[in-house]
């Protein structure tokens, strides 16, 4: 545009971008004050109440704001939301890494939740499954295949870059009830041919997500350690715990 035209444009009263940026800077300062006030009254609520965190996150999402985008963001600095979730991210990574040799990089949300809570210790802030899910969503930014697969009302958390397509997922879901699955179960429930069934099961074996029990009565069973590891490494039951000294 020519300079004359530009000047005329400005005269018309159209606010220019650079002016709005100045305006934004001022509004940002005001907003920061409001946030500080909010923090001084309710910062504790964020740390103490999982319900409040859910509400907070949902509201942010509705207006188009990501309070966890950066540790340098206002939300993080003033409300401490950042540290809460980023630290949780570290704990999640560490649990997944520690168990990967056993379950191939797949773990139920429940087991992850239990182990993270244990790792945090008695005096640490409680975390809910919703908190874990949000932390995991953030971890995706770092590659490495963090993802969640819905199975039977809960989720399997994947922490390795294995390519799991619909076929793999559906077999995992089928195995969720008992912790294992057989070729004939798959063929009956999913109506697949043998070749497709064996191909998917072989994939799971190769990725270390499934173990083969060839000694099982009847036909071989394909066990998923992610689903049965709770049973194998059983912790103290409530009855046993109540008999111990607190």
């Amino acid at each position: 545009m020519s300079t004359v035209f530009q000047a005329k444009y400005k005269e018309r009263g159209t606010v220019l971008a650079e002016d709005q940026i100045v305006q934004m800077s001022k509004q940002l300062e005001t907003f920061k004050t409001h946030l500080e006030e909010f923090a001084s009254k309710h910062k504790q609520e964020i740390r103490k109440s999982a319900q409040f965190r859910v509400q907070f996150q949902d509201m942010c999402a509705t207006i188009g704001v990501d309070p966890l985008a950066s540790g340098k963001g206002f939300w993080s600095e003033m409300l401490g939301v950042g540290d809460f979730y980023y630290e949780l991210g570290v704990q999640i990574i560490e649990v997944c890494l520690a168990l990967k040799h056993r379950n191939g990089g797949l773990i139920t949300l429940e087991e992850l939740h239990q182990r993270v809570l244990k790792g945090r210790g008695k005096f640490a802030q409680d975390v809910s499954q919703d908190d874990l899910i949000r932390a995991i969503k953030k971890l995706k930014a770092m590659g490495n295949g963090f993802g969640m697969i819905p199975v039977g009302g809960t989720y399997l958390v994947q922490s390795v870059p294995a390519e799991l397509n619909m076929d793999h997922t559906v077999v995992l879901q089928l195995a969720e009830k008992k912790g294992f699955v057989t070729v004939s179960e798959i063929k009956t429930s999913l109506k697949w041919e043998t070749e497709r069934t064996c191909h998917v099961l072989d994939d799971l074996l190769k990725e270390g997500l499934a173990w083969l029990d060839g000694q099982a009565a009847g036909e071989p069973q394909y066990w998923l350690p992610a689903l049965f590891s709770e049973l194998c490494s059983r912790d103290v039951t409530p009855e046993e715990a109540s008999e111990m000294v607190p």
Partner: protein, 382 residues
């Protein structure tokens, strides 16, 4: 289980059904109880349960009996449960399935799942306590208590009152917090709208934006957690903050990288850096955005993304050819290697050693033998 009374299962006027769930068994404390599996119903006033076979068998308990509840995760062979802790039953309670109980809690066992949603709704009802201001036509328990009843409850009354006060105060704090939160969000929304307006003007070139102003705009977006609407880049990439961060990382990561053979997975770096910081932690996106600036800032590190999607930080000095050549040497010496064996040999993580072998394969130096026993690499003699 002695807090329950026999019920017709019909809802009173002003009482609304909130949620119901099939496949629930009730436990009297730890004991399975004489009831079978049935349908659990939550209303604004009561918790009801009906036998799934015999619909005439229906019991109910007022929500006011509930002190608190907690979830108990399920597992293989174990259904998820909700443990509900209860006030003692008043002495004038109507008859129910149990005359007495040695437990002050019951368990709801969800054999067909549904525990998550039920728990959420129960939590809502316990917070809102609608039964307190929506009287039903028939009082569920009569309010007069006999002398004996009062004496039996006397030790607990003080504790109950304290819990009640604490709960009321918690409710008050939470509702005030929610109110303040809504107001705050309104203001945040204004900021988002302003940033969108600016972005559209930048796109339509309405005004002269200097480079400086662009950087400033990006940092405002970073502060608010708003995605950059112009470039769709991840939040606040290319700001001064990330440049500083990149330089810091360039220093603190040198030693760990040397130790780990010149390469570390980004998730490892994330844990390392944040554990060292203790406070004011980096977000995953902060880390990625900072690492993207290594090249531009001429730092001796590089962010690299493998085909599999794995992201690593690599020392610039460790060239690709060197890594591939040494991988080939190792494999040739041993005849063949799996990722696990290679990892042990080099003291690397299995993930990264697999990536190196894959890279060598991609360049044509190794070939694979993929079987259910695992992935094994051989020198490529073709």
């Amino acid at each position: 289980m002695d807090r329950f009374v026999w019920s017709s299962g019909l809802l009173e006027i002003n009482e609304t059904l909130v949620i119901q769930q099939r496949g629930v068994r009730l436990y009297d404390g730890e004991e399975k109880g004489k009831m079978d599996v049935g349908i659990l119903l939550l209303s604004t006033h009561r918790l009801l349960w009906r036998d799934h076979k015999n619909h005439d068998c229906c019991i109910a308990m007022p929500l006011s009996q509930i002190v608190l509840f907690e979830e108990q995760a399920g597992g293989i062979g174990k259904s998820a449960k909700i443990v509900v802790h209860l006030h003692p039953a008043p002495s004038n309670k109507e008859p129910g399935p149990y005359q007495t109980s040695k437990y002050s809690y019951i368990k709801l066992s969800f054999k067909e799942h549904g525990q998550i949603e039920f728990s959420r709704r129960l939590s809502e009802e316990m917070t809102q306590r609608r039964w307190e201001h929506m009287p039903v036509s028939q009082p569920i328990y009569t309010s007069t208590t006999s002398q004996a009843g009062r004496m039996r409850a006397v030790g607990i009354v003080g504790i109950e009152r304290k819990l009640e006060e604490k709960r009321k105060e918690m409710d008050k704090n939470i509702s005030e917090a929610f109110e303040d939160l809504s107001k705050l969000m309104e203001k945040a929304k204004e900021m988002v709208e302003l940033s969108r307006s600016i972005a559209s003007k930048i796109k339509d070139k309405q005004g002269d934006i200097t480079e400086d102003e662009t950087i400033r705009f990006k940092s405002y977006l970073l502060s608010m957690g708003i995605a950059n609407p112009v470039t769709r880049e991840t939040h606040g990439s290319g700001t001064h903050y990330h440049m500083q961060l990149a330089k810091q990382l360039g220093e603190i990561l040198l030693a760990p990288l040397e130790e780990q053979g010149g390469m570390m997975a980004l998730t490892e770096v994330y844990c390392l850096v944040n554990r060292a910081r203790g406070m004011e932690l980096l977000s995953p996106e902060d880390l990625v955005n900072a690492c993207k600036m290594f090249e531009a800032l001429k730092l001796p590190l590089r962010l690299r993304i493998f085909d599999s999607g794995v992201m690593v930080i690599q020392l610039q000095s460790h060239s690709e050819e060197e890594m591939i050549a040494s991988a080939l040497d190792n494999v040739s010496e041993k005849g063949s290697l799996t990722s696990e064996e290679f990892a042990k040999l080099l003291g690397l993580s299995v993930l990264l050693s697999k990536e190196r072998l894959l890279l060598a394969e991609k360049m044509g130096h190794l070939c694979r033998d993929d079987s259910v026993e695992g992935l094994r690499f051989y020198p490529n003699l073709f």
